[in-house]
């Protein structure tokens, strides 16, 4: 019995040879997931359903969702709609450890938590989201973000930007700066611009929004710009890279946003800085010099450190955007690959879907979708699939997509945290 089994196990391929764990003497392989957002919480659930001994490590007792937080800023949704606890995962039988992971020993396969406890793993999944680069824009550090919020990690920053916008006088100027690629939620800054413009149009006479962009092209561009021309011609001014949109410095004391060509005085300044993978990725050694994490497109295993998988915004996922939908889809594929690898079985080539809705005004939604597969070592778009909502569409379709956006949010958060 033992010998044929062993032979089969070894014959399963190099994956089985390269990763001799778990020991067959153990009762159940252990998987640790670090990061309890859309990616990590989904992965933990999928691994648990798949019968693995999984522990979710998340520093915060409450998750604050970035998707739909632009609606909070615009006063269209209460902040309570962004907050989710981990009781749902606990009820499902998944141990959730609320502690910061501060160290990873890939050779010994252990995670060290703040406080000194360690967790052994057979495989580790990192879903650490992003870290904002406070070293990227001269003048823009953590203290500056208290005056010029990024609101790109939802929470107190979201509420701060909302308060500033609410308090801004009529005729005021809002400056929103957008980083170059890659960053979390490619269409997010433009949804934010749209909804801030909606606030100005409905509540702030003569106020203006200046969008300073470090690039010339962006997600759903034609749809956004067509909507801006129709809805916000008097509120929103878009300055692309080619027109001097890249900011070179900020001066929080005087509320000045600088480019190489102009100084912009702002009443409210929202600065979305460049980003990198969440800190634990660098600690684990899975981030490359770009600050993001190269992964195998079939298993999401790090190309730098064996036994560690990276999903969600932190991963370099080729054509897949850094979105909650992507993180959720990647988590399920990664969890299945981990289950397969730990069972000595070759993971199958996956396909993944992404769908992202943006709201340009209440009742006016637009979307982009994509289908992806591994090709030449990366996740690539499947040609002929995906794309955006039609540029010419009746108001009824925009209304339907706004409804779908709300339903998607309710569905995904229920699935992940409920």
């Amino acid at each position: 019995m033992t010998n044929p089994t062993r032979r089969h196990f070894l014959a399963a391929g190099t994956a089985a040879l390269a990763f001799p764990r778990p020991s067959l003497a153990q009762s159940s392989p252990k998987v640790v997931v670090i990061g309890g957002g859309f990616g990590g919480a989904t992965a933990a659930r999928a691994l648990h359903v798949g019968g693995l001994d999984v522990t979710l490590v998340e520093a915060n007792p409450t998750y604050v969702s970035c998707p739909h937080s632009n609606e909070v800023i615009a006063g269209l949704q209460p902040m309570t709609a962004q907050r989710f606890g981990y009781d749902g995962l606990a009820r499902a039988g998944i141990p959730v450890v609320h502690a910061s992971a501060i160290g990873i020993n890939p050779a010994g396969r252990r995670v060290t938590l703040a406080g000194g406890d360690t967790l052994p793993y057979d495989r580790l999944i990192l879903s650490p989201g992003i870290e904002l680069r406070f070293d990227a824009i001269p003048g823009y550090d953590e203290a500056a973000a208290e005056l010029m919020p990024h609101a790109w990690k939802a929470g107190t920053q979201t509420e701060l930007l909302k308060r500033q916008l609410d308090a801004m006088p009529e005729g005021g100027t809002v400056v929103l700066s957008v980083p170059g690629n890659p960053y979390r939620c490619p269409p997010g800054p433009y949804e934010r611009a749209s909804l801030i413009a909606h606030v100005l149009k409905t509540r702030k006479k003569r106020a203006k929004l200046i969008v300073l962009d470090a690039k010339d092209t962006f997600s759903k561009q034609k749809l956004f710009q067509s909507a801006w021309a129709a809805l916000y011609p008097d509120q929103l001014e878009y300055v692309p890279l080619a027109s001097g949109g890249q900011i070179s410095a900020v001066e929080p004391g005087t509320m000045t946003v600088r480019t190489d060509f102009s100084d912009y005085k702002a009443d409210v300044a929202c600065i979305i800085p460049p980003q990198r993978a969440g800190r634990i990725a660098a600690t684990a050694g899975v981030a490359d010099r770009s600050g993001w994490c190269p992964i195998d497109p079939v298993t999401f295993e790090s190309k730098l450190v064996p036994g560690i998988h990276v999903i969600g915004d932190a991963a370099i996922a080729g054509a897949m955007p850094k979105s909650a939908f992507s993180a959720n889809a990647q988590a399920k594929v990664c969890a299945q690959a981990v289950i397969d690898l730990l069972a000595g079985r070759a993971p199958q080539e996956p396909k993944l879907i992404n769908t992202c809705y943006s709201l340009v005004a209440p009742g006016y939604g637009i979307s982009v979708a994509g289908v992806y597969h591994p090709a030449n070592g990366v996740l690539a778009d499947i040609e002929g699939a995906g794309g955006t909502s039609p540029l010419d569409a009746p108001a009824s379709l925009r209304e339907q997509e706004a409804l779908y956006a709300a339903d998607w949010y309710r569905t995904i958060t229920q699935q992940v945290f409920g």
């Binding site: 693995l52 079985r345 699935q415």
Partner: protein, 95 residues
Amino acid sequence: MRHAALFLIVMAGTALPVSAADLRPPPGASSCSGCHGDGAAMAVIDGRPEAEIAAAMAEYRSGTRPASVMTRIAKGFSDEESRAIAVYLANRKAQ
């Protein structure tokens, strides 16, 4: 129970994978629940008849059935892949 089942899979190596592999979502299938869930306009598709799901995907792909997003997504899958997804979803319990 789960642990026992997994133990069997691990112990059996490749002896079991025929049935175990059948439980695996075919390419693309695990993404569907990103939208399709209880109470959403994008209705639950787990547990729906296989023929219904496969036909819907084929019609979205050909454009004979209108949709806002599914027409774009269905084009990323062949008939064979769609049928595999339909079999998988039809055999899942509605949640």
